[in-house]
Structure formats: C-alpha cells, structure tokens
Amino acid sequence: MKGIKNIFAGPWGIIGVGIMIGILAPLLQKWGNPGNMGVCVACFERDIAGALGLHRADVVQYIRPEIIGFVLGSLIAAYLFREFRPRLGSAPIVRFVLGVFAMIGALVFLGCPWRAALRLAGGDGNAILGLLGLIFGIWVGTLFLKGGYNLGRTQQTHHTAGWMLPLFMVGLLLLMLLFPQITGEAKSGVLFYSVKGPGSMHAPLLVSLVVGLLIGFLAQRSRFCTMGAIRDFVLFRQMHLLSGFIALIVTALVVNFILGQFKPGFDGQPVAHTMHLWNFLGMALSGLAFCLAGGCPGRQLFLAGEGDGDAAIFVMGMIFGAGIAHNFGLASSATGVGPYGIPAVAIGFAVCLFIGLTMRKNVA
C-alpha cells in the first residue's frame, strides 16, 4: 500500500490520532484500568515485569495487553504500508541504560508522559508538576542535542532481528492464554497476578488488546510521540507533534467529564503522591532519558513494532528497570517517594549527563 498518502502523518491526522487516544484511554479506565491510568506505558511495563516475577510487589503484577497491542498494532501498520525496516546497532547498551533510568524516573512520579497527560485530564494537580518536570528534562536533552549528542547510525539488519520484540509480545500473550487469571489466586502457572491494588484493576483482556492494537496502528502511522511533541517545540518551535499531544489531553478531559472521571485536586488522587519536588524531578529524569533515546516510551514500542531493534532494547531496559525499581525500593507509592528513590534519581541524572555530554560520535 505504498504510494497512498499517509493521512495520519499530516497536521489533521496527528490531531485525529490524539483525539482517538483521548477517547480510548479514559474508556479503558471506565472498563477497569486503574484511576487516571487508562494507558501508562511505564506502569504497564512495570506490571509486566511483576507478572514475570522480575519484582515481587504484589499489587502491581499483570501482563498488560495494551503493551502487546501497541507493538503488534504497529507491526501490522508497518507491514501494510511497507514501513517494516529491521534495523539496529545504534549504541544498544546505552539505550538499555537510558531505558532503566527512564523507568526509574517514571516510577518516582508514578507515570510516563502518557499518564501525566491522563492524570492532568483527570484533575490530578500533581500532574502539573510532572509535566513541568517533563518539559525541563526534555529541555536539558535538547541542550545535549544542540551540542552534537547522538547515538550513531543504525544499520539495516536481518528480518529476524526486527521480529524479536514482536515475538516476545506474542509470547506474553500466549502466556496469558496458557495461564489465565484465576479469581482470588495470586499465581496462575508461572505468571503472577495481583489480587489487589492497581495490578488487579484491568479491563477485560480482549478489550485491552484490541484497543492497544488500534492505538499501535494509529500511532505508527502518525509517528505519535509525547516526548517529541515537547522536544520539537523547544528545539524548532514546531507544533506538529504537540498538536496531537494537546488534542489527547483536551479530549481526555472532555471524556472524563462525561464519564464522571474528573476529580480535581492534589490530595487523594489515584496512584499518585503529593511530593511536588519529586514529581517534578522524577519526570525530569524520565524526560531527559526519553529525549536522549529519541522517543517517548510509547514511541519506543511503536518503533519496535516497525522492526527497530534499538527501540526494542530500550523497552527491555525499561522492563528491567521496573524490576530493580521495586526490588530496591526506588518506586514511589501514594505516601511518597520510596526508601531509595531520591538517590536513584540523582544517580540517573549523573548517568544521563555523562551520556549526553560524551556521546558525540562524529557522523558527518
């Protein structure tokens, strides 16, 4: 289907996709996902890490079909429109490390940029601090970009390499079907399932999967990216991706109003804490890491679906990061930051600064 103009990549296309996601995400919440968490790439990858036993925080263990859908929906779109390009080789270990700290930062704030947008649209005032932090972190990233930072060229590779993450996602789906959730049981076969807490709150499997596939498809076509939205405005005063991000927020706000999911305030917000400084700094670390890695966590999943092995490595870094975040007490909770969350954020900034300042491979 190459040659057909990509309507989703145009100015109205990206707004349309933002509107679609802004409708679907609050609906996922209505259908069972946790509060202000219709979609959260970081939280959901953390839940997957839990389901696999990479951490044992029993309130956040569930294989989120939305994540599976994002990758496979993107894969379908890429194949349909001949954009599946298996590639890798652009500083993979660096991307893995960036993924680890992007997840740690997100778990300090309790959300990725997608969730920050949805929290704002749900009336969670703490998300304001998060979004400000996100903007700050991305701004720092742009300073490195302007200074010549880049991770080097990627290379075309064998189709098999491009299929690894999609196959991993298919594997997760098969595990869910093989070891389905049993009401009241914390484990089914090899998989962990939360019986209480956010991990126990989820829309039906098929609903999550289908919505994920749809979003994956639309996001691949439109190149939707919540980090790029802010980065392109800061760097180039470009509003293209930002218009899609704003459309998402505004639409989700309206839909939340209609569904009775808008509850303004700072205290008592679902899966949120009120430590303003750490909401800001957690998202700042995340934003910086996403900027250095070239995409928000959603975008990394969509790229992985297109065969991008570098993005796939970043995704694995995030899942690994979630595992250690909960094992080491780095993740926040409703009461505030975790026991080692603050030093983890400091280390994260140091590592990202190191990467940003020194990775200047001459690609001219």
């Binding site: 390009r85 652009s90 790029g228 180039f236 293209h240 070239g294």
Partner: protein, 72 residues
C-alpha cells in the same frame, strides 16, 4: 550551489537538526537530504517548508529517500 546531507541511519531528530543547521548556515540554496525511513522523510519535508523552503523532489532508490529541498 547544492549541498548533500547524509542522514541515513540516524534517528530523529538528527535529520531535521542537520537540515535546519544547513539552512541556517546559508551556504547553499539547494540541499539534498538522504534519509532511509518515511518518518524522517516527512520530518525533513516539514522542517524545510516551515523555514520557507520548497520540497522540489523526493526520489526513492533502494529504500533511501533523496529529498531535494530548494530555497524559495
């Protein structure tokens, strides 16, 4: 005078950064930007038109897009 930018294999925002840098440098009134994926092709085209340049031609050979932009 034409300049060539090889942005193949570079992930966003590199192709746009390189293109806008060259536009700002003002050394050429015609720039050929080589990218190898559709998103970069779209981004470079959008960046060029945002600076008042024209996308004169896009030619694809073996998965590489040669995006020719011209000062308007």
């Amino acid at each position: 005078m034409a300049k060539t930018i090889d942005a193949r294999g570079l992930s966003c925002p590199q192709p746009v950064l390189m293109t806008l840098e060259e536009i700002k440098a003002g050394r050429a009134d015609e720039i050929l930007v080589m990218v190898d994926n559709d998103a970069s092709k779209e981004n470079v085209s959008r960046a060029a038109t945002s600076r008042g340049w024209k996308v004169a031609d896009i030619r694809e050979t073996d998965g590489v897009y040669n995006v020719m932009i011209r000062k308007d």
